[in-house]
């Protein structure tokens, strides 16, 4: 991989083209691949969620489009959203309104940089991988607040404020829950963290860390039972009330892309990443990730929604102390074992 890249660069160097050109080409290819992957996987996840929810609710879900179990439903929906009229409310702040979905999607996209699909299948193995993910995922809130504020709608503002409060409260336990793993490995690099799980997955020594991470991650994705930013029975749709057509589709895409990201990070940090017998590494990684996604969907369709204050209490009074406890115990054990 590395060598091929060097060859590619050297060819351009021989022709006397400035080195920025091949670098841009490589970047463009990588970004296209990532976006393609996101689109396909999100479309699959939407279809999958509709199927799962349908079967939980004694229904079939989409059955018509595309023939077999309505597999093309998401594609049809995507095309429909693309073709819709682009509506900007009269009272909206047009620039911010247009920017908001892009900010949200950019944050979701950037997080894919550090997802290790396989030993060599990673966009860039940053030495601050986990930190990068955490900081990038916080950017989503900025987009959501922009969307809520610029829509000029009271429901959107309420949704955006709730979202900000929720993201801030749950990022703290999320970070602390991950610390246990980082302390054990002694590195923030995703590749090294996965390599360290060759013998034993961190879900066993870091079980509580895993649970806390999963809870906080679901809250990060604004999914039930933590979906109060867009609680449809209260706020109609929360921050994206006024969005429709393509802009709404981008929000939707980002939401599911985020879901994939948090699950992929959970896989890398706790479930041994690509490690597994027989099957190729990337397949193992995807299987584990989709298992976590399945759990998230399962929870969504069986639980009720928490209230705002209950959500805050859970975040600050339960998850955070537990996460600190987990971190402390991990540290103690590390010190004792040297």
């Amino acid at each position: 991989m590395e060598k091929a890249l060097e060859r590619f660069y050297s060819v351009f160097a021989e022709w006397g083209v400035p080195s920025i050109v091949p670098q841009l080409i490589v970047m463009l290819v990588v970004v296209s691949v990532v976006i393609l992957f996101i689109s396909v996987s999100v479309m699959f996840m939407i279809w999958w969620e509709r199927k799962i929810s349908a079967h939980i609710q004694v229904r079939y879900g989409p059955m018509r489009v595309g023939g077999w179990h309505g597999w093309a439903q998401s594609i049809a929906d995507g095309i429909k959203l693309l073709l819709k009229e682009d509506i900007i409310p009269a009272g909206a702040d047009k620039l911010v309104f247009a920017l908001a979905p892009m900010v949200v999607f950019a944050a979701a996209l950037a997080a894919y940089v550090i997802i290790p699909f396989g030993p060599n299948l990673i966009v860039r193995d940053l030495n601050i991988g986990v930190l990068f993910y955490i900081s990038i995922s916080s950017l989503t809130v900025v987009g959501i607040i922009m969307a809520g504020w610029s829509s000029n709608n009271k429901y959107s503002v309420l949704g955006a404020l709730r979202s900000a409060a929720q993201a801030v409260s749950y990022e703290v336990p999320l970070v602390v829950s991950v610390l246990g793993v980082i302390m054990t490995v002694g590195s923030l690099s995703m590749i090294q963290i996965v390599e360290a799980q060759k013998r034993i997955w961190f879900v066993i020594p870091q079980f509580f860390g895993f649970l806390i991470y999963l809870t906080a991650a679901i809250a990060e994705c604004n999914r039930l039972p933590f979906d109060i930013p867009e609680a449809e029975s209260e706020l109609v749709a929360g921050f994206h009330v006024e969005y429709s057509g393509m802009r709404f589709a981008i929000f939707f895409l980002a939401e599911y892309a985020n879901m994939f990201t948090v699950s992929a990070i959970a896989t890398a940090l706790f479930l041994g990443g690509w490690h597994g017998p027989l099957l190729p590494p990337w397949l193992w990684f995807l299987i584990k990730t989709y298992c976590i996604i399945f759990v998230m969907m399962w929870l969504r369709w069986t639980l009720a929604r928490l209230r705002v204050d209950q959500l805050m209490n859970l975040g600050w009074k339960v998850l955070l102390p537990l996460a600190f406890l987990n971190m402390g115990i991990t540290g103690l054990i590390l010190v004792i074992h040297g």
Binding site: S53, V58, R59, L158, A231, E234, W301, R305
Partner: protein, 377 residues
């Protein structure tokens, strides 16, 4: 009366921390076209004002221009989730006014259908209440069972929602031959479903934490506001017209009246949840005792009730459904008034709503169980 918009704007400007939010008439959890004006301090509701009338269709005035029989289909549209019960209440009022006797078999049929309707209505309530709280799955479960009840009703009356099936003096058609077996099969199938709902809703800790202690309705306030039905029983008052003012043949059946203690949303939920099981009991007893015989009593060709008035009430799934009819001896009522439980129950919302978060507001509104067709007649 809707206050002028300018007044609202002025009041908003006085305190910058407070915000007015218009909830409805198009809102997913106002259960139709109810409009709520919420004054919010942050997320806490400090004042609730209800605006109704979006579904007003002059029901009572139309009634004055129709003959007594022609009114029956109109009553279907009152509480469209419990049409059988509206028919029941109306024909009962006219029968009492005229002093008509209803054959035994017709009485049993009425009770069977009415109690099935109560189950169906409570099922819808439970499902939509789940939606209000973000629990989507219970909705589908409840609708699955309701669908079976509607199938039964369809086999009986040919209709699935607005039956217009009760007649003054009896019933228009006998039960179809398959009804007894179908209904028994349904009850056998339905009984194990109730624990299923418990697994999804009642026993769910998140759900319990959400609704317990919410929207407390004091018994005294409930009586002052003339609240009836599951809401009143949730506040600890054992008041059920089937028992306290028996009509039809309800005095022949054994059933319990579930009551709550605290009067919160949880109690109202539990009252309705337990009432479904009680209704199953009543239907079973009625099916067991169903006598053969006539289904239509002796009714004059032209219905001309004697001069006078009558107030007749039944316990609909939502509470005391009353019909007040004044007759001037002609074919049409001189005055026709409906006392709808949902309208009266809704009136207590400004009393119990304030002080809660928006999310709780939705749950409280859901626990009142309104049907807008009945609130605006």
């Amino acid at each position: 009366m809707i206050p002028p918009e300018t007044e609202i704007i002025e009041r908003t400007q006085e305190t910058m921390e407070e915000m007015y939010v218009n909830m409805g008439p198009q809102h997913p959890s106002t259960h139709g076209v109810l409009r709520l004006m919420l004054r919010l301090d942050g997320e806490v509701v400090t004042e609730v004002t209800t605006y109704i009338g979006y579904l007003h269709r002059c029901h009572e005035k139309i009634g004055e221009n129709r003959t007594y029989i022609q009114i029956i289909p109109y009553t279907d549209r009152l509480d469209y989730l419990a049409s059988m019960y509206n028919n029941f209440g109306y024909v009962l009022a006219v029968e009492r006014l005229m002093g008509l006797q209803v054959p035994e078999r017709a009485e049993y049929m009425r009770v069977i259908l009415a109690e099935l309707q109560r189950i169906a209505s409570h099922l819808i309530w439970m499902g939509t209440f789940g939606l209000d709280l973000g629990n989507f799955t219970i909705f589908m479960y409840c609708f699955r069972e309701r669908e079976k009840i509607l199938d039964l009703f369809e086999s009986v009356s040919g209709q699935r929602l607005n039956y217009a099936f009760y007649r003054i003096g009896g019933m228009p058609m006998d039960l179809p031959q398959t009804f007894l077996t179908d209904c028994k099969a349904f009850l056998e199938w339905f009984k194990p479903r109730l624990p299923e709902y418990d697994a999804v809703m009642t026993d769910n800790v998140i759900f319990q934490k959400r609704v317990q202690g919410l929207g407390k309705l004091d018994q005294k306030i409930a009586i002052d506001y003339a609240i009836s039905g599951p809401m009143l029983r949730g506040s600890g008052m054992k008041w059920d017209l089937r028992r306290n003012d028996p009509y039809s043949i309800y005095d022949r059946f054994e059933f319990d009246i579930p009551v709550g203690t605290a009067g919160d949303v949880w109690d109202r939920y539990m009252v309705r949840r337990l009432e479904m099981a009680e209704s199953v009991k009543i239907v079973e007893q009625a099916l067991r005792d169903l006598p053969p015989g006539e289904i239509m009593g002796k009714v004059p060709k032209k219905l001309k009730p004697p001069v006078g008035d009558i107030y007749s009430r039944v316990e609909s799934p939502r509470g005391e459904l009353g019909f007040y009819i004044v007759s001037d001896g002609s074919e049409k009522p001189y005055r026709y008034k409906v006392r709808s439980p949902a309208f009266v129950n809704l009136s207590v919302l400004p009393e119990i709503g304030p002080g809660h978060l928006i999310a709780d507001m939705v749950a409280i509104l859901g626990s009142i169980d309104i049907v807008l067709g009945e609130v605006d007649r």
